[in-house]
């Protein structure tokens, strides 16, 4: 066993060990806990950066361990893993910083940060899993470790949301397990492999493969918030802002979308999925979810609820992209895995800032908040414009790439979906931006806290600004090596010409 084989394990262990240490630390050990948290986040970021460079150069990272005959625990780093791992490593660091500020002086912080680390460890595991069995282990671990975060506040509403969340996700998990077991029964243990395994599938098992595919996507679709399995997501927004950020941008919904990408690309393979007639219905479902989420978002008066419906819509871009059966469109979908994460985390950070600093939860309370909190509001504005797809921001790169890809494979209707979604996004984000900058503020804010020199606590101030800068940079510098677009194209290149 070489060092390279152990790299994924190290990346996984940093968060896992951090979680154990934090659980062991006393509640009062604020400083030590923060140090452990940030240290682990930085260390993990470093490890992921090394692996990104390695994967780019073609180094193999990974190990496998046969637990029972036919059941293998397998960790592996390929280009797609690194995209998800990179996203979670970068955003975990920022969310940790944010959470430290957000939860200042609130009870049960040790519990919170312990599960927080556990959640990120599971995300890492999901990213680095080398086969469906390993993927499933971490996928379920993610469910269990996020539940305490969702109900963290312990209010009736939070407990209710947590119940809904756990019912949805555990049911989804069961369906997923059923699909995995069935697949295992039909063809045995399959590692993820670019190009998939069913390029020349036996005609006898085609019927089973189609049904298994439906089970897998239905199971994964719960977390990916595909219509009609999205019901838990808007409720879960009662969680604290850093948790919402994590749920919506990094961990949960992304794990679902990532799983669907894995199934389509690395288990079935795009060609086989297409030949089995599975991609087109998936594309339509994703397109419908995109529009459905946006339409529902229009009528939400609560800022976080509006953002939640926006997530339902935006995550389906990823699924739409990969189900179009063309390399450019797939790159457009995959790049949104990162782009949506960066933009949505910005928006949730900002929503948290308004809530913590001015006590604002509803959209109509935002009037005139721009001049009071310029940094947060600039970040929010950039995030919102990014979501609409205004160039040169992240969302535009997604839409342009996916649109070009759809045209390349003669799927003109996708353009109509993209345009309708952009219009709807404009319709629910621009009024918010208008309120921020061009309305006169009310006499007093609902519940204002002063934090000293900056508009809010420094822990809360910098993370959204950083992610807003990233939203601009991943768009403006899309042509650079190691930009998200570049990486997405690399994944697709390896998928379409394995």
């Amino acid at each position: 066993m070489t060092l390279n084989a152990w790299m994924p394990v190290f990346a996984l262990m940093t968060s896992l060990i951090a979680a154990v240490v934090i659980f062991a630390l006393p509640e009062k050990g604020y400083r030590l806990r923060t140090t452990v948290n940030l240290g682990a986040a930085l260390l993990k970021l470093g490890l992921v950066a090394v692996m990104v460079w390695g994967v780019f150069r073609g180094v193999d990272y990974g190990l496998s361990y046969t637990m029972l005959p036919g059941v293998t625990f397998m960790l592996k780093a390929d280009a797609l893993s690194m995209m998800f791992a990179g996203l979670s490593a970068v955003l975990w660091l920022l969310t940790t910083i944010y959470a430290v500020g957000y939860l200042e002086n609130s009870p049960n912080r040790a519990r919170f940060f312990g599960f927080f680390s556990l959640c990120v460890a599971s995300t890492m595991g999901v990213a680095l899993a080398g086969n469906l069995f390993t993927f499933f282990l971490f996928y379920e671990m993610l469910t269990l470790s996020t539940y305490p975060l969702v109900v963290h506040r312990g209010t009736e509403k939070a407990l209710q949301a947590g119940r809904t969340y756990i019912i949805y996700t555990l049911t989804g998990g069961a369906v997923l397990l059923l699909g995995i077991a069935w697949l295992h029964g039909v063809v045995g243990d399959l590692p993820f492999r670019p190009g998939g395994h069913f390029g020349d599938a036996d005609p006898d098992i085609q019927q089973s493969l189609i049904l298994i595919f439906i089970l897998l996507v239905a199971g994964l679709g719960v977390k990916a918030a595909l219509f009609p399995l999205h019901g838990w997501l808007p409720q879960a927004m009662v969680a604290p802002a850093p948790v919402s950020a994590l749920l919506h941008a990094v961990a949960v919904v992304k794990a679902g979308a990532f799983g669907i990408v894995r199934v389509v690309h690395d288990i079935y393979g795009v060609e086989a999925s297409s030949a089995l007639g599975l991609l087109e219905p998936l594309a339509w479902l994703a397109a419908f979810t995109i529009l459905y989420g946006s339409v529902r978002a229009l009528s939400q008066g609560d800022l976080k609820r509006r953002l939640a419906f926006s997530t339902i819509s935006q995550v389906s871009y990823i699924i739409l992209g990969i189900s179009l059966f063309g390399p450019v469109a797939a790159a457009g979908g995959l790049v949104h895995l990162l782009h949506q994460g960066i933009m949505k985390i910005t928006l949730f950070f900002c929503a948290g800032n308004y809530a913590e600093t001015l006590g604002i939860h509803r959209i109509e309370e935002l009037d005139g908040a721009g001049p009071r909190m310029p940094g947060t509001s600039v970040a929010f504005t950039i995030g919102a414009f990014g979501m609409i797809g205004v160039p040169p921001l992240a969302g535009f790169i997604t839409k342009w790439t996916m649109g070009s890809g759809a045209l390349a494979v003669d799927m003109g209707w996708v353009i109509a979906v993209l345009v309708a979604s952009s219009l709807l996004n404009a319709a629910y984000f621009l009024p918010v931006v208008h309120r921020l900058w061009f309305r006169e503020p009310a006499d007093r804010w609902p519940r204002e806290c002063r934090w000293g020199k900056l508009e809010t606590s420094a822990w809360l101030f910098w993370p959204p600004l950083l992610t807003a800068v990233m939203t601009v940079m991943v768009g403006v510098l899309a042509a650079l090596t190691f930009s998200p677009l570049f990486w997405a194209e690399l994944i697709v290149l390896r998928e379409y010409s394995p």
């Binding site: 310029p374 414009f385 839409k399 345009v419 621009l430 208008h434 900058w437 061009f438 403006v476 510098l477």
Partner: protein
């Protein structure tokens, strides 16, 4: 990097970075005085460097390319000059209320407007276009009145729809061309099976900005409610961005498109004459000017239509369109700036000011010895029926004449409405300086600006031929007579 390229980057980045000054509350007073300097690098770029350079920015978006040709140079010149005089004016005009916010949006809108004139790759062109569109919203709604908010909402809805049409048009064109460079698009559109769809989307999308009839209705709402210097740049420079969008994307010199040509000529006729009807009944000077802008864009549409119909003629018409755009932008900017003036008490000085206010207006109508006469004559030659291959060629001359009548009527109406609004008193020095500069650029400096129209106008032509003089003057006489009849009728009604 060559000094020229540094200048290019400065031209775009100075106004783009300028809003960062707002981060320090202590600098907001200084921000006001920086306004006139923002377009300076762009102005130097337009005046000092010839066309032909290009700057590759491979790291930008899908690969950036900025360059300058004759057409872009004239549009850059117009943009830089107009924003500069409006910037000088703004220093004297602006109140302290929300000053920082205004300056931020001013800088961003300017950066977009300058950037889109230089951008040759689709990504940065569309980015700058969108930046200009969305940042200008901040200028439109700045005053915060109910009227401004309503105008802003209409503007924004139209702008978003326009942006979407442009996005889809560019996507389809880029897919057809398999290229991310604007200059590859016309040929690809000409050969694409989706030709008509692409042309319709681009005409409509850019048409929102350019005040294409039926897509124009945001314009008389939004241009008047903005603060005066912003109105000037909206109506003088930004409206031309839509025009430039057409010129750089549509397949003019590739194939004859008689259908689209006819449609645009019809739209131009409707715009140039039709806009005068609601225009002359407006009560507010700026609203009259907004309709005048639609009317003037209608005249330019005639040329766009002719160029679409006749690919051979397109290159010449391009130069005329650019010349006309330059002339109109400067004159209209000056007219808008004069709406914020106060006139002095002395009789002689009063008369002098009114003359200076009126002259750019008469220039629009084609007064001999002005830029307008030059532009109108070039246009007349460019659209001469015997040179042109279009079903409507024979109607163009009467249309131009009718357009000239409409132009002068609107200018007279403008002066009439302004007369009752204008106050007696002193102007802030920089406000007066900005306005005077705009008049000077429109009437005098214009002749030394580096424009040229191949085949039609070689260098400044001060003195038109006698027959040309008559051609210019008689539509003006009709307009004056119409105005006189109206006044007479009004007087008669009052007598009863």
């Amino acid at each position: 990097m060559a000094p020229q390229m540094v200048l290019v980057l400065l031209a775009v980045c100075v106004p783009l970075v300028y809003p960062a000054m707002a981060l320090r509350p202590g600098w907001s007073r200084a921000m006001r005085y920086v306004l006139p300097v923002l377009p300076l690098p762009a102005l130097v770029l337009a005046l000092a460097t010839g066309p032909g350079w290009q700057l590759e920015l491979p790291w930008l978006l899908n690969g950036g390319l900025w360059a300058m040709d004759e057409l872009r140079r004239l549009f850059l010149l117009l943009t830089a000059v107009l924003w500069m005089v409006a910037g000088i004016y703004a220093v004297g005009y602006l109140g302290a209320r929300n000053l920082r916010r205004f300056c931020v949006f001013w800088g961003l809108t300017l950066a977009g407007n300058l950037g889109l004139t230089l951008a040759v790759d689709i990504g940065s062109f569309y980015s700058f276009f969108a930046l200009m569109t969305f940042a200008a919203y901040g200028l439109v709604v700045h005053e915060g009145t109910a009227e401004a908010t309503f105008a802003g909402r209409v503007y924004l809805v139209m702008a978003v729809l326009g942006e979407m049409a442009i996005l889809v048009g560019l996507l389809l064109a880029a897919a057809a061309a398999d290229s991310q460079i604007l200059t590859d698009l016309p040929e690809a559109i000409a050969g694409s099976p989706r030709q008509d769809l692409i042309i319709a989307l681009l005409l409509g999308g850019f048409g929102v900005k350019a005040g294409l009839p039926l897509l124009h209705f945001w314009l008389p709402l939004a241009h008047p409610v903005a603060p005066t210097p912003a109105s000037a740049v909206l109506s003088g420079a930004m409206i031309k961005a839509g025009l430039l969008g057409w010129l750089v994307t549509l397949p003019f010199a590739e194939i004859a498109m008689p259908g689209w040509g006819t449609l645009m000529i019809l739209a131009g006729a409707v715009g140039s004459i039709g806009a005068a009807i609601p225009g002359v009944v407006q009560q507010k000077p700026k609203a009259v000017l907004a309709y005048s802008s639609i009317s003037q864009m209608g005249l330019m549409l005639l040329m766009v239509g002719a160029a679409l119909a006749d690919p051979e003629r397109a290159p010449v018409l391009f130069s005329v369109i650019a010349l006309y755009a330059l002339h109109h932008g400067l004159a209209k900017g000056s007219l808008f700036l004069s709406t914020g003036l106060s006139v002095p008490a002395g009789r002689l000085r009063r008369a002098g000011i009114w003359l200076l206010i009126a002259l750019p207006g008469f220039s629009l109508a084609g007064l001999p010895f002005t830029s307008g006469a030059l532009a109108k004559l070039a246009m007349k030659d460019g659209l001469a029926a015997n040179n042109l291959d279009s079903a409507l060629a024979g109607y163009l001359a009467p249309l131009m004449t009718a357009g000239a009548v409409a132009t002068l009527l609107l200018v007279l109406r403008y002066l009439w409405t302004l007369r009752s609004k204008v106050e007696t008193g002193h102007n802030p020095p920089l406000l007066a300086a900005g306005w005077l500069a705009s008049v000077g650029v429109s009437l005098v400096a214009f002749w030394w600006l580096p424009w040229q129209v191949e085949g039609l106008v070689r260098g400044p032509v001060w003195l038109p031929q006698p027959y040309q003089l008559w051609a210019l003057v008689w539509p003006m006489l009709i307009a004056v007579a119409l105005a006189a009849v109206t006044l007479l009728a009004k007087w008669l009604v009052k007598q009863r």
